[in-house]
Symmetry: C2
Subunit: 522 residues, 2 copies
């Protein structure tokens, strides 16, 4: 393991900075041991060397004041900081900083659920609160509200929202259901956004917009501030919840299916963020790859057919949920079956009518029960990691088919299985392509990285932009948003320089570098 020093610092100045951090947070909350402490802050699915995106140290403040103290030290010594909430974010870099040698600011100790309003339906959380913890809090107190949860429940509610992550109930768009932020700016100033900027405000967590410019978006997928509190709207617990699965045994039915689905999402007949998963992604949740196939190269179509039969699922498997009274759910189910009965290969199952473990997991998630079952797919191979390419697409069959066929063909060209998850909004889809690889195998990593670059290039040509990305491709993705000679990046850089003149906060995150590091390669 190599220690990366932050650029521009000497061993001496770095040691001084570490001493200063220790004075702020206490000795034991500054981690510097590169054998025993720092590796747990590496990207668990490293696409380059394991320690490529490694921090030089980790600082663990316990309060907003300590965060401000850490930021003050960073400005004094020009130490780059990389704030994380809990540091999950699998497929997108985990806890690892974009800039090798940055000091991770681990906010897990700030884990208070500050307030829950059981009438108007919101929670106020610190960065260290996980979905599982917030859910437990609500259940233990019989609070009749749900917190929407993502695939894996161990992540931070605040961190997931800042990365604009998604879940699967009607409140699945986490940014859309946040309300109110407290933020430490790169110079240590402390702001509250929206109505929360009024002392004693009674609508800080009820009304999203405040008076004057709306800053919340500025602090998402960004390096302009460290968010220390977040308001989160909770979904009123529905009278009932019934999950279902629709399997499509023919892969080409994807297009027709999406074309029927989109208007139902738009008019709220299907009210939750639903997902359409490819065969092998679901197969991975059931058994390791070797159970299905031990040959070389991508799993052949003939084997895929057998997997389909064994698991009694389709090439595509759609997971939705219906909410409301029993009568309402019956009506919804009639409407849904009627609509999709036009798809020749569609088969319909309520949650209890099929023994698929994926359906069981999805049923929990769509009923806002956080869990870790989706991590089962990591048993696909030994040392299995994944890197995700996540382009947005219009929610039409034509676009779904283009994304699927292009990605599948490129995956095969690079010797990879296609594993896709299409998460369907009202007008758009997150088309998330998980590329699995062996994170101990340099050849496999090189090939995987080359594939991801190809996927970016091909999708960009057709106007599909990614909503999020791994540190290794952040600059590439930022460069695809190039209208008017990269005007958006220019705007980001001007704001970066104005708010963070010393360039200390998360340099390079989302392709935004501070002036002193701009144009260098890291």
């Amino acid at each position: 393991m190599t220690r990366h020093l932050p650029p521009g610092l000497t061993e001496e100045s770095f040691a001084e900075a570490i001493q200063a951090f220790r004075r702020v947070v206490g000795d034991k909350w500054v981690l510097t041991d590169e054998e025993t402490q720092l590796p747990s802050y590496y990207d668990p699915f490293a696409i380059f060397e394991a320690d490529h995106f490694a921090p030089s140290a980790v600082v663990k403040p316990s309060s907003v004041d300590e965060v401000r103290g850490v930021v003050a030290v960073a400005n004094e010594y020009k130490v780059p900081l990389h704030p994380i909430s809990i540091g999950k974010n699998l497929g997108f870099g985990g806890p690892a900083p974009r800039l090798p040698g940055a000091v991770v600011v681990d906010l897990k100790r700030m884990n208070r659920i500050i307030e829950v309003d059981d009438r108007l339906g919101y929670a106020v959380v610190e960065p260290g609160v996980s979905f599982i913890e917030l859910d437990n809090y609500l259940r233990e107190r019989n609070i009749p509200f749900w917190v929407d949860v993502p695939d894996l429940g161990w992540g931070s509610v605040l961190g997931n929202t800042l990365e604009r992550g998604i879940g699967y109930t009607p409140y699945g768009d986490h940014y859309a259901v946040h309300c109110g932020m407290e933020v430490v700016l790169p110079d240590g100033d402390l702001v509250r956004t929206g109505m929360g900027a009024m002392p004693g405000s009674n609508t800080a967590y009820l009304y999203q917009y405040g008076f004057g410019p709306l800053y919340d978006g500025l602090f998402t997928q960004s390096n302009f501030g460290i968010v220390t509190k977040l308001g989160v709207w909770l979904l009123p617990k529905p009278a009932g919840c019934q999950a279902y699965m629709i399997t499509l045994s023919k892969e080409e039915d994807l297009g027709q299916f999406i074309d029927i689905l989109q208007p139902l999402r738009l008019n709220n007949t299907i009210s939750n963020v639903s997902s359409l998963r490819s065969l092998l992604l679901d197969a991975a949740a059931v058994a390791p790859r070797s159970h299905y196939y031990t040959g070389d190269g991508p799993i052949p179509d003939s084997v895929a057919e057998k997997i389909k039969d064994e698991l009694k699922i389709g090439y595509w498997n759609f997971y939705g949920a219906m909410y409301g009274t029993e009568a309402s759910i019956r009506e919804q189910w009639d409407l849904i079956r009627d609509a999709f009965s036009a798809v020749p290969s569609a088969k319909f199952y309520l949650a209890h009518e099929h023994d698929s473990p994926v359906l069981a997991t999805r049923a929990k998630i769509m009923a806002a029960q956080p869990n870790l079952e989706t991590a089962e797919i990591l048993k696909w191979t030994d040392n299995c990691g994944h890197i995700d390419f996540a382009p947005m697409a219009p929610a039409t069959g034509e676009h779904a088919l283009w994304q699927y066929q292009t990605t599948r063909d490129l995956c095969r060209e690079y010797g990879k299985d296609y594993m896709g998850n299409i998460i369907v909004g009202r007008r758009e889809m997150h088309t998330i392509h998980l590329v699995m690889f062996d994170f101990t195998n340099p050849t496999d990593k090189e090939r995987t990285y080359a594939l991801i670059k190809r996927l970016i290039a091909e999708s960009t040509k057709r106007g599909y932009g990614a909503y999020r990305g791994h540190p290794s491709i952040m600059d590439d993705l930022a460069a695809t948003y190039s209208f008017n000679d990269n005007a958006l990046l220019r705007l980001s850089q001007r704001i970066k320089d104005a708010l963070d003149p010393n360039g200390i906060l998360a340099p390079g995150k989302q392709g935004i570098w501070p002036a002193r590091l701009r144009g260098q390669q890291f």
Copy 2:
């Protein structure tokens, strides 16, 4: 009429700037005549002298390139610009600039409906497109989507969204249903936000968030850019729409009513942005004040009782709409009547069951039919204007009663009638208090302005913040968001100075002044 020159400019430098503007947009699109041309850009409801917030000139570009040209001239001569879309915004200053002597940039000529997608449901509009025009476009082509409309349909779709205005269908939160902006920055650079920053993007108007920091909010209620294009999501036309009114003949039933209403809004039983209007606001839509009362001072309770009887309405009148199939609407109506039957004085009317002209108007608006009928209230007195105080409040009965009682009592103290409109969201309410005044009467204006200042002071003490405000109170309102020694305003000023170093764009809007004018009084 006095011509205000922009601060710092001489007659000579101003004349040069005007010549330069003429070269950009053509002679006839620069207006400078203070007798015949500029008065139509004054606030129609001037609370100070009629020409207090008067522009020094008006420039009318016809394209994005011309807007950029105008901005270039402004930077060269340090001429402050005040962009307007169509310039309605009644009660909040109309087209008038916050800084006396600013040059209004009137964008009405940019009135193209650039695109309407009749499948995924969005429109892309320029600033000069009104709600009425966009609605006409959709109806003429039988496009099965609605554009949500505000009280008055003549305003700009883009302008209303930027001021975070609201309408009354389920898409009533206009900022929430926008998607994608094109913005000319104060230095003339041109950015597209979100996915639109990718050349050839196919999700520019489908996915709101893009990659990296989200800038859209920065350009709302702000002076950081001139928005030249906006994507707007359209509501799928429902199977049916049925408006209704619930009248409360006892004013004190307000609290109980709101407490029953809020959970129904939150769980979507009542799916649209609904409103609860006070007696005199509705009376004003029917006849002038003199029809009801010709005495001095506020209308007495005894007269109010008579008005109630004459109009067959309540002290409070709630307007909602149900959407869907006939069967579904019948079910909704049962649920709604059951829920509110606990309110002793509640009476229930479907739209055709009562001849109230207000109900007829609200029925149109909740069915997305833009109109100008709400302007009837301006016949209340001769020379009738209004200034609006618009604090947000938690959607509970306790808060509704406090806002009502405090505002009513203060109105009476200042000799004014109470006219309130409570617009009920899922967790919060816009409590809009219209204070009517005679805009030709200096004594009335002074008294009205003093009342507004008192309302701000009293509401701020209790944590109620205004969501929007008239130019005459923008600095006061900005000052109420004072957490951490005005940290939010400090942030605004840093971004202002970074993006607009010459301080040319809408100085003072929402209390944000550029460095060169900060601390002065205008």
